[in-house]
């Protein structure tokens, strides 16, 4: 059976063809009833990532919930002679702010506070437009998705800052630093937004314009 390219039916899904997410091989399911495997790498195949929208929403809502304690609770606690002082992420940014240190302060501000919010809103926007079957700004939406995929990991910066500050500053009784209760919530925000980006299927952005929406999914 030969497949001829036809601009009227542009997407592989409309020809009943599946792309392997792992090795990229294009193949045709042998049976409609049973889920097929990739003949090259053996991975289970689907037309679209299974329950992509629901899974992405679940991770995203989880991340949004964790974002609140991550910012309200202290991520670092410093003990000195004069007592214990606790710092939230934002207080850490303010602490770093100085005539010479402001670029680092800006890095932490962007990576820890702005990127998670931007990621959650960007993925939320993508989910809503996909659900509505939008056919506008496809190019911009796919670019937004790619940016979310690339920058997400950089939110981990603050986790590493707190980890290594605490590991190093153990000068009892002079001074010691311990991680605060906000840290696990902050780490959860980073992991959950990364999982959300991974479970979103960007091909859903293009399906309404190909006339493939709702088919085979």
């Amino acid at each position: 059976m030969s497949t001829v390219l036809d601009p009227a039916v542009p997407s592989a899904i409309q020809r009943g063809l599946q792309t392997c997410e792992c090795c990229g091989l294009l193949s045709r399911p042998a049976s409609r009833a049973e889920e097929g495997r990739c003949p090259r790498c053996g991975r289970g195949l689907e037309f679209r990532k299974p329950a992509s929208l629901q899974r992405t929403w679940a991770f995203l809502i989880g991340a949004a919930i964790c974002y609140i304690p991550a910012n309200v609770l202290p991520v670092m606690m410093t003990t000195t002679f004069s007592g214990t002082e606790s710092d939230t992420i934002l207080q850490g940014v303010v602490f770093l702010w100085s005539p010479t240190g402001w670029p680092l302060s800006l890095i932490v501000l962007i990576a820890s506070i702005m990127i998670p919010v931007a990621k959650i809103s960007a993925l939320g926007y993508l989910l809503i437009t996909v659900k509505r079957g939008s056919i506008r700004n496809n190019g911009q939406r796919i670019r937004l998705y790619r940016i979310v995929e690339i920058v997400g990991r950089w939110s981990m910066v603050d986790v590493f800052v707190d980890t290594f500050t605490a590991a190093l500053v153990q000068l009892q009784p002079l001074m010691s630093v311990e991680p605060g209760p906000g840290l696990p919530f902050f780490a959860a925000v980073v992991v959950l937004t990364m999982l959300a980006a991974e479970s979103f299927d960007p091909r859903l952005i293009w399906d309404p314009s190909s006339g493939a929406a709702g088919k085979e999914i």
Binding site: L5, S11, R40, D158, A167, L174, S210
Partner: protein, 224 residues
């Protein structure tokens, strides 16, 4: 049940927009993009097995050094303290933040180690004309592990920590920090010189391997 492969192997679906298209034949150094969404579909690399192999061996050596020598230290009123990457995670664990400790250990130590180790195995396995099935298996895990390998993010975090601590004590950047810096560039160079498509095109197919196994089982049954 396995899907049926198409007779025309140059046909592909774009992973980002599902556009059905024909992948052109490329010369080394050339790349192809999806005409609809702009996703880079394939960049053919020159010498795509030897170069990454050399880089991976170098990366493996640096990885061992980076995880054994101190990464940063400080001195204050005559007292000294040092920590390694592993020590950072260990301290979190002991302080009662096990979940974060596991995350730090995984993203800063385990995932980069797996990334380098898997790549080494893949490249060695792919030297055969028809690489064995396990090469494909490892390639599958390799891309997942890469997402969670965050050495470059950790270095930025350590630099911020260094500057924070510098207000209180004299900080000493350790050897591991510089080695990790080089390692980031090496891992980026491995990614840039490795061509997974080249390996996928030659690897033994899952379907064929299973058929072969079934055939040899039938043979032994018939013989007995």
């Amino acid at each position: 049940m396995y899907n049926q492969a198409l007779s025309d192997a140059s046909l592909i679906g774009c992973p980002h927009c599902d556009l059905l298209q024909r992948l052109p034949a490329l010369e080394p150094g050339e790349s192809a993009r999806c005409p609809r969404c702009g996703k880079e579909l394939w960049r053919r690399k020159e010498d795509s097995l030897q170069r990454p192999l050399a880089l991976t061996i170098a990366a493996a050596l640096l990885y061992v050094v980076a995880n054994t020598v101190p990464m940063l230290g400080l001195t204050v009123v005559g007292r000294e303290a040092f920590t390694t990457v592993f020590g950072g995670a260990l301290h979190l664990w002991n302080a009662g933040w096990e979940s974060v400790a596991v995350l730090v250990l995984f993203t800063a130590v385990v995932a980069p180690g797996l990334q380098i180790g898997l790549m080494l195995a893949i490249l060695l396995g792919a030297r055969r004309v028809r690489p064995h099935r396990w090469v494909g298996h490892l390639l599958r895990y390799y891309s997942t592990v890469g997402t969670w390998s965050m050495i470059e993010v950790m270095i930025l975090g350590v630099l911020v920590a260094l500057i924070k601590i510098a207000e209180l004590a004299k900080v000493i950047p350790g050897l591991a920090l510089f080695v990790l810096g080089v390692l980031v560039f090496l891992i980026a160079a491995i990614e840039a010189s490795f061509d997974p498509r080249e390996v996928w095109q030659r690897v033994e197919w899952a379907e064929a391997a299973e058929r072969q196994r079934a055939a040899s089982k039938n043979m032994t049954e018939a013989a007995s």
